[in-house]
């Protein structure tokens, strides 16, 4: 206790002298802040480079990527998380078909192609990390997006309706998606020339809504496949 008081005396005596030196003060402040910043960012940088990759996790197809962009555009992250925590009640709720086995929570390897990550911080609607394994049809998703309250048995949903996503005016901009894929390739997503070449036919006449449905049907699919492969 007394040692601590002495430490505080010693520290406040010297710190008291810094407040007459503008530059020195700014420098010391920066150092104080940078120490914590470096500790938090640098070691995990190397650790997460070695996040165990899950062999079946593949990059998003052109259509799924366009859907992911739509997800970002509409701010779905405000209400939906994509990270199932290791609790029975979360695993059971978001993986009712047990597609991921007993440890059906989210693993680091599932997110290696996610620029940016979309875990979210508020779960007003259900988590979507394993949406593909909820086994809902494309048609269900489409109807649900057009009006969440008329179909699918969610009459009391508070989700906004997204009818415009399926309108003609919301066709996907093919060139933009290819340019997006090229940007992602430059930061490490393993897209090939073939992927770029196939993109136009995948995206032809598709709306943002269809792309969003494709993205939702991709979520959790690859890691579920791994689990099925192990059985």
């Amino acid at each position: 206790m007394f040692g601590f008081n002495k430490f505080l005396d010693w520290f406040s005596e010297i710190a008291d002298r810094w407040d007459t030196k503008g530059i020195k003060f700014t420098l010391y402040t920066t150092i104080a802040v940078v120490i914590g910043g470096l500790f938090e960012l640098i070691p995990p940088f190397f650790l997460t480079k070695t996040v165990t990759p899950i062999s079946t996790v593949k990059p998003y197809s052109a259509l799924e990527l366009a859907g992911r962009d739509t997800y970002q555009k509409e701010g779905c992250i405000g209400c939906h998380t994509q990270m199932v925590r290791p609790f029975k009640w979360e695993v059971d709720r978001f993986d009712p078909t047990k597609a991921y086995g007993r440890t059906g929570y989210s693993k680091g390897g599932e997110y290696v192609y996610d620029h940016p990550f979309l875990w979210g911080s508020k779960r007003t609607g259900p988590d979507l990390a394993h949406e593909s394994q909820m086994l809902r049809s494309d048609e269900w998703h489409k109807n649900h997006l057009i009006n969440p309250r008329t179909v699918g048995g969610v009459p009391n949903s508070i989700m906004p309706a997204y009818p415009w996503l399926f309108e003609e005016s919301h066709k996907i901009d093919v060139e933009q998606v290819v340019s997006n894929m090229k940007a992602l390739k430059s930061i490490g997503v393993p897209y090939t020339e073939e992927d770029f070449a196939n993109a136009p036919s995948l995206l032809k006449d598709k709306t943002e809504g269809q792309a969003l449905v494709a993205y939702l049907q991709k979520l959790g699919k690859d890691s579920a496949e791994l689990q099925k492969g192990m059985k």
């Binding site: 505080l8 520290f11 406040s12 407040d19 007459t20 530059i23 003060f25 402040t29 920066t30 104080a32 802040v33 120490i35 914590g36 910043g37 500790f39 938090e40 070691p43 995990p44 940088f45 997460t48 480079k49 997800y71 970002q72 555009k73 509409e74 701010g75 779905c76 992250i77 405000g78 998380t81 925590r85 609790f87 029975k88 009640w89 059971d92 693993k107 680091g108 997110y111 290696v112 192609y113 996610d114 620029h115 940016p116 990550f117 979210g120 911080s121 609607g125 969440p148 009391n156 508070i158 906004p160 309706a161 997204y162 009818p163 415009w164 933009q176 997006n180 940007a183 930061i187 490490g188």
Partner: protein, 476 residues
């Protein structure tokens, strides 16, 4: 005294005060709209630019970068000149800063509803706007630092420390988190992926709370509180200790947003431990504020500005108690992703940031426009509406969040989820969310009263400001 006043550039302070009022009303109006949308989805109007997903980032950006930053800049320009007893280094730079800053917020208000978003919370803006932001930030910071360097007062008062700490840290966080690869004029991707992107984002996100919404407002408290009650701060030594420990510890706490996620276990634990350690420096600041206030406790009864400061410090103490509590793993398991977090954030933003800002504005507006405040009664009404609004807001969110978390985890005797149907839970929470929206409306009403009060005060400008002791009427 009169000659010394003209020595300072007050134009820039007035400019940022007006920005604060405009963006304050805008951000809180959007807040109220989205709060009602969460009960009545019809209020999304089935239009892209009025849907919750797009308005929510508009609300947070306008509140943090429109309102809070405007208050920070207004008070930074005001205090630095007085504490250094010198005019700003360069008035033109100040004006460029004001213009570009407001341009940035206008661009944000246009692009966010149009759906241009990086989907990183509080860093939604696309890269051209980010670059513009860096330009005016550098201009501002150079001007600020040069003013500090050419000061005529030997010692830098504690308020300046807090401003400097904020101004060196914010660009660091902002730049590291916003490194992207552009894929078009308004489209980009974070260069970081998955787990690491999450780690960087919450290092940024947590410290936006620290170095935008906490430290500058502590600086502001250290200046305006003693000024307003005409008593010195309670303890200079406590300021030193809590300043250095606060800025050293705060930056480590980011991973508490990612407990139970796939980020490394040791990192989660570090974040949790440092969050708990934050109790001490946070309460150091709160106690310094409280103990200073007790020197003028008889004034609190009659002075709305002082009441706001007292309430602000109280809410600061409360939300910095709640923060470390929520970062404990077991509590996070219940509270994470629920309305509780929204309540926690708003007890800090509405209570601490909102009331401290209002108090500083009530101090500044009459002095800068050289006129007495139009109505003390309205200011008092603002205080009570605001306090009632915050209490309704946070209590309904506590109840809603804990109910939500408990319903999610409720497991029956046979191991089955009790509330399998998600929408059942949503339905149950509607009344609490409605109370939250009503609380927000009350708070917004208080803010509108304040703006009206200021418009009336400004219309009376140059009528001569006379400092009043509200206990005994007009004093010399």
């Amino acid at each position: 005294m009169a000659t010394e006043k003209t020595q300072y550039d007050d134009f820039i302070v007035k400019g940022f005060i007006i920005s604060a009022l405009v963006w304050g009303v805008a951000s809180m109006t959007f807040g109220v709209i989205i709060a009602f949308q969460l009960v009545y989805p019809q209020l999304n109007f089935e239009l892209p630019w009025t849907s919750f997903g797009r308005l929510r980032p508009l609300h947070t950006n306008a509140a943090i970068f429109g309102f809070a930053l405007s208050v920070i800049f207004a008070t930074a320009y005001h205090t630095v000149q007085r504490l250094c007893r010198t005019r700003m280094w360069n008035d033109t730079l100040s004006k460029i800063h004001l213009a570009l800053y407001n341009l940035t917020i206008v661009l944000a208000a246009i692009t966010l509803p149009l759906g241009y978003s990086q989907s990183k919370e509080y860093a939604e803006l696309e890269w051209p706007i980010d670059l513009l932001l860096v330009v005016w930030y550098v201009i501002f910071f150079a001007n600020y630092l040069m003013t500090v360097i050419k000061r005529k007062e030997e010692q830098m008062y504690v308020a300046i420390w807090f401003y400097i700490a904020s101004f060196v840290t914010v660009p660091l966080l902002f730049i590291v988190n916003n490194i992207v690869i552009p894929a078009g004029f308004l489209k980009s991707y974070s260069v970081y992926a998955g787990v690491f992107d999450a780690n960087i984002q919450w290092w940024y996100g947590h410290n936006a709370v620290a170095f935008v919404l906490t430290t500058p407002f502590l600086g502001l408290m250290y200046y305006y509180l003693p000024k307003h009650i005409k008593q010195p701060i309670y303890s200079h030594r406590l300021s030193i200790i809590h300043f250095w420990s606060l800025i050293f510890i705060y930056i480590w706490a980011g991973p508490h947003h990612l407990l139970y996620s796939p980020i490394p276990e040791w990192l989660q634990t570090t974040g949790m431990v440092f969050s708990i350690m934050l109790w001490m420096p946070s309460w150091g600041g709160m106690l310094n504020g409280f103990l200073t206030l007790t020197q003028a406790k008889d004034k609190i009864k009659v002075d709305a500005t002082l009441k706001m400061m007292l309430a602000a410090v109280t809410f600061y103490g409360m939300s910095t108690f709640e923060g470390p509590l929520l970062s404990i793993r077991a509590v996070s398991a219940l509270g994470h992703n629920t309305d509780w977090i929204i309540g926690h954030v708003h007890s800090g933003t509405l209570g601490w940031v909102g009331f401290m800002s209002a108090a500083a504005l009530y101090y500044l507006v009459p002095r800068l426009w050289n006129s007495n405040l139009y109505s003390e009664k309205l200011a008092n009404a603002h205080f009570w509406l605001g306090t009632l609004g915050i209490l309704l807001y946070i209590i309904s969110m506590w109840v809603s969040g804990i109910t939500e978390g408990s319903m999610w985890r409720a497991v029956g005797e046979n191991g089955e989820l009790v509330y399998k149907d998600w929408v059942e839970i949503v339905e149950f929470l509607k009344p609490f969310r409605l109370f939250r929206a009503i609380g927000g409306t009350l708070y917004l009403t208080g803010i509108i009263l304040m703006v009206y009060n200021f418009i009336k005060t400004i219309q009376n400008k140059d009528s001569g400001f006379v400092e009043q002791d509200l206990r005994i009427g007009v004093k010399s």
